[in-house]
Subunit: 186 residues, 2 copies
Amino acid sequence: MLYAQVHLTLPAWVHDAVDGAAVFPGDEDKVGLAIALSRRNVEADTGGPFGAVVFGPDHRVIAIGVNRVMPHTCSLAHAENMAYMLAQQRLQTPRLNERIGPVTLATSSQPCCQCYGATVWAGIDRLLIGARAEDVMELTEFDEGPLPADWIGELNKRGIEVVRDLRRDDARAVLKHYGESGGDKY
Amino acid sequence: MLYAQVHLTLPAWVHDAVDGAAVFPGDEDKVGLAIALSRRNVEADTGGPFGAVVFGPDHRVIAIGVNRVMPHTCSLAHAENMAYMLAQQRLQTPRLNERIGPVTLATSSQPCCQCYGATVWAGIDRLLIGARAEDVMELTEFDEGPLPADWIGELNKRGIEVVRDLRRDDARAVLKHYGESGGDKY
């Protein structure tokens, strides 16, 4: 018989780690939360060193994601993908900014090729990034995969603003700790 | 309280439509099944006009996927992604060909930018494609999104062979029917 159901979860600690009523007004505040989640995910041994948060126009959290690839044996379960799916289930729409707007994704590291593609369809207006792809590759040996040469321009064309290097040193510190601790690379 | 669980399903009809013991020896046989699933998904009104199948080295089905974006309000729920996630849960590995090999994905249409990225990480050795991206855009107005200029070469570099235009006319016929029927475009 075919498998016909996929069930993906966030770790139980997220309910204590995120305050749904809190406001994260600035871009650095938003990426700061994504980085804090990436750090906690490593400390709790619940997945890889990546975190992401979807914010609504009121600067409050709609959904979060952390990397869950190894716990769920699922190469799709990257932090950004988890955040997009959970935000879409919460808002009951496959394109987030058709329901409310503007919608922002903050991520601890630049999206890999898979999450880059997911970002094109998820319905966001702003993409806020901590560490760069080269940081991820330097510090953890994770491959970020092939992107369009002008990956930022392609997002801009589709109405998505990109801001990089937000709390980059903080994001790099989590990646460095993970790389030196011998965590899984996949 | 945060949403912390994602649950994605295939339609109930897949259990009647796919014989797990059947052998699909040739590339056209494999893509033929993916196209049949794409057609059935439209006829049953259970999602968009896309189907995909993961095959093992014995040419039998490991997992299938059909587009479930609208039923699950989830932009990640493309046919290829569903097939990868279900195959990885069945084999209990996030990289399919570390468990068995070679692994093949057959898809009714060229993967969009999101499923292209997912293909890089899923652990497949061969990618078999029915309709081209330009067929999808011509016949359904679905956007396929930005890809690396040499998207096939980037997959080849990572050990993934790409074969296109398998039963392309059959795949185009399903897309044409969907486009003319006024189905959702997202």
